[in-house]
Structures are given as structure tokens and as C-alpha cells.
Subunit: 329 residues, 2 copies
């Protein structure tokens, strides 16, 4: 029986939406149980009589912005306790839709890096224009600065993730840069290029420019965290801007509304392809534990998928795989 700790508090939509996801997941998976951390009264009431769910009452919620010392003082929070359950090996994984900063800080402090890993990186799968084909990108913002060697390590970890969770056979790796030629980019990018090129097992393909990352031909793309965060949010921003414009285009007048009736099937498929919720969230790779960060505004579908990512990561022994890779070096 796999046990997954869930931080039920701090999401935009409240604990009951997350709970619905947990309940659905239990129905579909007989080998999973949950340890829920959060408001005892709400959660006990809502879960009474359900098997494979245990509730642990907690007193506080980690705010959106928190300093490391303040996190350490927030032992009574749902997030702290959920992470601590992984540390004590009571749970095999932890999922949270709460504060990203708090979760990254807490995971790093409580669970620590896998020996040999210099810096954990936040790994986010992206939808691409090719239906069903994802791209794995890291670091998308756990760090402001990364050395060349850290970026190189992201390629090793990103490949393990792409193979195990996304089922890619021999994923190619790329470095995000501002030009495709070797030597383009910052020192860290140029350095990572050199290190990756020397490691034949990485299936290294070279630099990729930001405009081509999501064309469906790139499996794993690594980058220092600051640029990765700009990439993530620029892409999100443009996608949401265009989605709004598409809606406005159809809502313009009666004719355009009729147009929508005819063409809606095509646009629904587009929406499905672009739906980041399919991927369930981001994963902090390099930490001693399965640590999944769901979007703050996750609905049931998105949170279900975040749980599924955690489940798959346990199933495939991702942490062991990373440990072996780094002990081997």
C-alpha cells in the first residue's frame, strides 16, 4: 500500500475540492492510501466512513511568502506536517497546492538533497503543439542562480523523470539558450552545454531557443531557474492572453457565435491539448522524497493528476533511480 501525504490547506479553491480528487483517486486505485493534513473538523466530517484516509488535524497554514526560519517555526502547519510525514517515512510522497515558495523551502530544509545533487530543481512538464507529446523543463524557478554543473545535473534527473513518468524511451536533452550554436548564452549555459556533450548517456542534442521548446520535438530542456521561470510565465501569459482573445473573437456578435457552434469541436481539442492541468503540477527533483506541487488553483481534475504523478513516481522508484545515478558518478 502506497501512502501519500496531502497538504489540504492553502490552495485557492479550499480543501473540499482537493478531497474530491483524493476520493476519486481512491476509487480508481486500490493500492493507495492518504494521510491528510489540515483543518481537523472539516476533514473528519467530510471523510467519515471512508477507508484508506487518515486525517491529522493541523493549526496553521503556510502563507504565500515565507522565510526559511519562519517555516521552521510553523511546525503546526499542514504543509510542515505533510512534509514531515515523508521525512519520517510514514508517507511515500507529499502533494501540496499551497505556497510554492513555502513548499520548496520546506522540502529542501526538511527532506534535504539527494547526496551528490547540488541543487534541487523544479521540473514542469509542458503541453506541446503535438497532441499527447509533453516536454519536460527544469529548473522553472526553484533557484535564481544555477551553475553549469547544476544545470547539467538537471539533464540527468529530467531524463529519469521523462522516461519513468512520461514513458519516453530515450529522451533527448537540450539546453535553453538565446541561440542554437554552441557558445551562445550565459556562462552557465555554455558550461552546461560542454558537460552535457561529454556525457554520451544523455542523448544530448544541443541548444534550443525559447521559441522552439514547445514544437513537440524536444523531450527534456534544462535551464538555470531564473530563465526557466521567465520561460514558464511568458508562455503562460501569452497562452492566457490568446485564449481570452479567442473567446472574445467568438463572442463578438451573433454571426461569430454561430461560427463557434460550428467550429467548437476543433477548439475543444485545442483546449485539451493546451490543458496544463493534465500534467498535474511541478515536481521538485533532487530531493530525498517524492515532492509534487500542484497549481494553487487546481480543480479536482488537476489535483487528481498531481496525485497520479506522485503515485507514478513512487511506483517507478524515481528517488532510488536518482540516488543510484548520483552515487554511480
Amino acid at each position: 500500500m502506497k501512502k501519500i501525504a496531502i497538504d489540504m490547506m492553502g490552495s485557492d479553491n479550499g480543501p473540499l475540492v482537493l478531497l474530491d480528487a483524493c476520493k476519486s483517486y481512491l476509487k480508481d486505485h486500490e493500492d493507495v492510501s492518504f494521510l491528510l493534513f489540515g483543518d481537523e473538523k472539516i476533514l473528519k466530517e467530510a471523510t467519515s466512513g471512508i477507508d484508506r484516509i487518515e486525517v491529522r488535524g493541523t493549526e496553521s497554514i503556510i502563507p504565500m511568502e515565507i522565510k526559511p526560519l519562519d517555516f521552521l517555526r510553523s511546525k503546526d502547519s499542514s504543509m510542515y506536517q505533510a512534509l514531515a510525514a515523508v521525512k519520517s517515512k510514514e508517507a511515500d510522497a507529499v502533494v501540496s497546492a499551497g505556497s510554492t515558495g513555502g513548499f520548496l523551502t520546506g522540502a529542501t530544509i526538511l527532506l534535504r538533497n539527494i547526496p551528490g545533487v547540488l541543487r534541487a530543481g523544479l521540473c514542469s512538464p509542458f503541453p506541446t503543439k503535438v497532441k499527447g507529446k509533453g516536454t519536460v523543463i527544469l529548473d522553472v524557478g526553484a533557484n535564481n542562480y544555477n551553475t553549469a554543473e547544476e544545470v547539467y545535473q538537471y539533464a540527468i534527473m529530467g531524463r529519469i523523470y521523462a522516461k519513468s513518468v512520461l514513458g519516453m524511451e530515450d529522451p533527448g536533452t537540450w539546453v535553453l539558450s538565446n541561440g542554437t550554436e554552441e557558445g551562445k548564452g550565459t556562462d552557465e549555459v555554455v558550461g552546461a552545454y560542454k558537460l552535457m556533450k561529454e556525457n554520451a548517456s544523455l542523448n544530448f542534442k544541443g541548444n534550443v531557443e525559447a521559441r522552439n521548446v514547445l514544437d513537440g520535438t524536444h523531450d527534456v530542456v534544462v535551464t538555470p531557474g531564473y530563465a526557466g521561470n521567465i520561460f514558464l510565465k511568458s508562455s503562460e501569459g501569452m497562452a492566457s492572453m490568446m485564449n481570452e482573445m479567442i473567446k472574445a473573437s467568438f463572442k463578438r456578435n451573433l454571426l461569430t457565435k454561430i461560427g463557434y457552434l460550428f467550429s467548437s469541436k476543433g477548439f475543444k481539442e485545442m483546449k485539451t491539448i493546451m490543458d496544463y492541468r493534465r500534467f498535474g503540477g511541478a515536481i521538485l527533483l533532487g530531493i530525498n522524497g517524492v515532492v509534487v506541487k500542484a497549481h494553487g488553483n487546481s480543480n479536482e481534475y488537476a489535483f487528481y493528476n498531481a496525485i497520479s504523478v506522485a503515485d507514478t513516481m513512487i511506483e517507478k522508484n524515481i528517488i532510488d533511480q536518482i540516488q543510484q545515478e548520483f552515487n554511480h558518478d
Copy 2:
């Protein structure tokens, strides 16, 4: 009579498309003349009998990638000669659709920075989701590294550009970062925040995250060049991906094609709003001269607009304005 030097070579679509833009521009503007650099035979033949166009034959074309020393050795190239015409004050501005790297290198070497300007920055106006409202962003990739003070200077220059060319009255300025709170981002970003905050004339508003830059409420956004380049290309990449998907959605079957007939008006407006060619290209700000880089794949419309940007920059004495601002300091 304003005289604009044009590098006619090295664009994706060949010199005749650029020439069409020049001819249209001459028709619409009686106070402009052109100095065209490129293939003498083609250009002389195509311009015979046209007033206010002078052709200067050149022998070579600057390749996409070129080192500074090689640029200096390419004196017989159209790009070198077009830049040299500004240096010698024979022309008031230069426009090129050729190699971006070559053009930035050449402009910096031949024309040099305005005294007091630490680093020139590539400034690109972006369309936003609000019709007719642009956002000015710099540096979008002239530099891999920028100090806090350089980023601060971009705000000064970006404001002059936004006021003079885009007609904004008192443009607000923002720093691109990975969070809105003061203190978020790399050291250069945090440093630029502090410097901008201290200068009341900048109408400084704080940090902006990449996902909100194009929401139509941000006038001037400054950033170190590497992150700016990732922003530019991520946004372009997502926009082109979604445009392809919109097309595919409408082309799916007969019904969706009928849907397009009804809703096409709305989508044409969206296309107009998103059309970056309206802005004509990017401007290297901080250089002793009006230096406009048109997109490599500019069509007549885009190149016409690039010329128009150069014309407006001459008209508004942007270089003098920047010089005064920096001498004043």
C-alpha cells in the same frame, strides 16, 4: 529632407520586397529620401527614374553569425556601409533586415554608445491584449549580462522611446522579475528596482511577472538582456503555436470551415492586434544614431513600419533627448 540609409541585403525575402516598402514610403512622405546599399545591378535597375533614392553598390553580405573583427573587415558589405553613412552624418538613420548579431555588433563598434550610456539595449515594442496599446520592453537580447545600473538606464531610454514614438504621456516603468514583491529576482533586478525607486521622474511601479507583461497595463518593462530574450522568444513561440492550432481547429472538417466563415471577422481583428509587424522591428537604444532592426522575414508592410519608426525617431530627436538626459545626470 531626412535621409535614411537602408541595408538592402541579408533579409529573408530579398531586396525587392524592401524596395517596395521604400517606394511606398516615398509616396507617402515628401520629406524623406533613401540611401540604398546593396547589389548595384539589381537596385539601379529597379530604381531607375525614381526621385529621392540613391543607390550605392556593395560587394558582400554580413552573414547571420559574425565576430566583431570579421565585421570590421567587411567594409564592402551593405550593412557596414549603411552604418558608416550614419557615422559620417550622411544619413540620419539606418534600417536593416539582415543579421541581428552583425547589426548590433556593427552599430556598437561604428557608432558607439551615447556618452554616459553604459550598454545599448535592444528595445522591442510588443502588442498587448488591449487593442492599439503597446508595451515597450528592453533589453530583449543585445546583452547576455546587464548590471543593475544598465537596467536602470534602460528605463530612462525606454520612457523616452515610449513617449516620443508611441505617444504615451507619462509612461510607467516596471522591472521584469520572478515575483512582484521588492527583493524578488536576481541581484541585478533587485538593484535596478532600488535605483528606479529612487528616481521619481521614472514613474516607477515595481516588479512585473512575465505572465502579466502583455496585459495592456504595462508601458515600459526593463530587464537584463538574457531574460528579455527568453521573454521575447517564449512569447513568440507560444503565439505561433496557438496560431497554428487555431488554423488547424478551423480546418478540421467542413463544419469547422463553415464556422470560420461566420467568425472570421473576430479572428481577423485578433490577428491585427497580435501583428508584431505593425511595430516594424526593434531599436538599439543608447547608440549615437537611429538604428532600427527590422525582422529578417519582413514583408513590405513590416519594413514600411520599420522605416516609419526610424523616421519618427529622427523627427523627435530621440538621440538628442537621450544625450541630454545622460549629460544632465
